[in-house]
Amino acid sequence: MVRSTVAISKLFSACIVIVLMLTILEACSSSSTTNNSTQAGPIVIGASIANSGDFSADGKPTEQGYQLWADTINKQGGLLGRQVRLDLVNDNSTPEGVTTAYQKLINVDHVNLVVGPFADLTAVAAAKVAARSGYALVEGSGTAVAVFQQGLDNIFSVSLSAKNYMVSFAEYILSLPAGQRPKTAAYATQDDPFLIPQLDGARALLEHGGIKTVAYLKYPAETSDYTPYAQRVIASGADLVLLGTFTPDSIAYVKAFKQQHYNPKAIIAASGPDQGSQFTGPLGGTKVAEGIFVPNGGWFAGISTYQNDQFQRDYIAKFGGTAADISSDTVQAYSVMQVLTQAVNKIHSIDNAKLKQELHSDAFDTLQGPVKFAPDGENTTAVAFLFQWQNGNLIPVYPQNHAQANPEYPKAQWPSS
């Protein structure tokens, strides 16, 4: 009995020693893989991707942006002379999924660098996990006001801030001669931190310019039946309709407006019309989309920005289609990697502390234009463009120095069914 007790005690002690040794080894390997830029082998960059769930439509193009950059940089000899490997984990479009994904990427996979997932709430969740381990998080789609109010010093958003997206539309409307200017506006938006600031920013400007708000609707993000909200907007009879939408609700509104023969003088949707055939296909063709506006965060096929020609060439070679098929998610993801490349090359290191310092202090170039980060991570130099569907194409119409045509106003009648 005594002998067996001693044996169990020895076994228990041995287990404790083994666990302690493994813990020490784990810690050593963690510190060496995280920040050692001189280590041989590939540089591993981690990110979570929304391959399923609410943002699954955005997950794929985001992944394409990251992958395209990795392929390009590896063909050019890699980053700091080392090949790059992406470690992508599905996050199911939820902040919880993102938290788990980044914990795995940092603490289990020991990636060298991390970049952002898709969407605002998930970007914040990722940045919080990254902050705990001292990682910088460069991301492309977390642009809501709330993202920059978290007190995080490790988040860097390369895209246009959400609150500025519809400013160009409001400015254009207010630039119209008084006789043509609309008198009323209706607003309908998903309860989403990326969308609400867009509408509120435009609403403040339009109301200040004398355009009366006749309807303002906010509806839950998880809904899938938008007909009642469209009814409310239609019943308001507003001259202008501003929609805080993603792809499915933007389609539903336009279809409902057409079905109800409601043709406001201008319609703008925060996103959806910029998704190419994903938007026009369900509508039944580009004719239905004629005249619909969409804000743009700073990139389009013809724009002359940093590496844009090469990006479009590589995209078409790898994924096929045309430049018009390129999603804004892909552009944002690629821009993230452009900033990361410039910062890493500048400091010649993948040390995250030095990287954060560099990102806070320097300016960078991307497909979406110049980038300079405020202390809270907001890109202070991005400019909003205004796009409109005209004759089957989505083209820039405002501001004038980037416009390919004058804005179509008032909107043309809906085509007959």
């Binding site: 609410d54 699954s56 309860d191 006749v214 009814q231 792809t247 279809k255 296909g281």
Partner: protein, 309 residues
């Protein structure tokens, strides 16, 4: 078409809600409610006979929509006509799922069925994402966008057709359940599987066919859903949560309950949307659901006795 109203220049403000808007909400609530009844009747039927909560019903609806989409886009088969293909296809798929997975569940059927059907849903979602990508699509047909003026607004034909389709299919289902020998066996199995087996009913066969019917109804629901809303595989999550709420409200296992709960839920939500605020639509509905369940814990038409097996 000359319409009863609409163009622009707003005459309505936030202060008043036009009566036509409420009428429109009620009519659309009834019409879309009937479609939800179609989708949820499959779910409630399966639960009633098998004690199985089919979490995969949402993704099966979307699968039905994708099948209609494939027939319409690649073979140019009208989406209504396509039901002649999609309903039998999903019926066979449903029987296959029952044979492969559900039949194996012997104990704790409710809990384990949730896990198993969730796994089935994830596999189907993955396959749909792989085949069709996550891009949103919508079914097209001449009558999807065409409208008819009714009570001061334009009613899309697709809603009318969907209502007629739902009434026809639910009537057929009613006759199958209450006027046929198979329906007798089905109802006997619903009441007591052991007793049904003792009087010579092949309960396993009844269950397989019932699961097939439940899934086949998803094909019809999916076609209408796909014609009225843009969808991708992820859309199924919102759908299944609605369907589960409907069968809880109507009473688990009750076809009549599914019908009234669907229409009630849609009318309450739609009217609250237009009269008050979209933010409160779900809250009002769930508050009413809680009150109802306090007084009728088994829902509107749930059986007094739970199944004891």
């Amino acid at each position: 078409m000359v319409g009863p109203r609409r163009q622009t220049s707003g005459s309505h403000g936030q202060e008043g809600v036009p009566v036509t808007l409420i009428i429109e909400a009620v009519i659309l609530g009834i019409l879309t409610g009937s479609v939800y009844a179609l989708m949820s009747s499959g779910l409630t039927l399966i639960f009633g006979v098998m004690d199985i909560i089919n979490i995969a019903q949402g993704i099966l609806v979307i699968l039905g929509a994708y099948l209609s989409y494939t027939l319409e886009k690649y073979l140019h088969i009208d989406i209504m006509l396509g039901l002649l293909v999609t309903i039998p296809t999903l019926f066979l798929l449903g029987m296959g799922i029952e044979w492969a997975f559900m039949r194996r569940i012997r104990r704790d059927r409710v809990m384990i069925s949730i896990l198993v059907t969730f796994a089935v849903a994830l596999v189907i979602e993955g396959l749909l994402n792989f085949i069709f990508t996550a891009n949103y699509v919508q079914l097209q047909a001449p009558y999807v966008d065409a409208t008819i003026p009714v009570f001061g607004f334009y009613l899309p034909y697709i809603y009318v057709f969907a209502f007629i389709l739902s009434v026809v299919l639910l009537t057929l289902l009613y006759f199958l359940v209450y006027r046929t020998k198979f329906g007798f066996g089905l109802r006997a199995s619903m009441q007591d599987r052991t007793a049904a087996a003792l009087i010579g009913i092949d309960v396993e066969r009844v269950q397989t066919i019932t699961f097939g019917i439940g899934v086949a109804l998803a094909a019809a629901g999916g076609m209408v859903f796909g014609a009225t809303s843009p969808f991708n595989a992820a859309t199924s999550y919102d759908l299944i949560s609605r369907l589960l709420v409907i069968i809880v409200l109507g009473g688990m296992g009750s076809l009549r309950g599914a019908l009234f709960a669907s229409i009630g839920m849609l009318i309450i939500s739609d009217v609250t949307d237009v009269v008050w605020s979209p933010v409160w639509a779900s809250t009002v509905f769930f508050a009413l659901l809680i009150v109802l369940l306090l007084f009728r814990p088994r829902g509107l038409y749930g059986r007094l006795e739970g199944r004891k097996q």
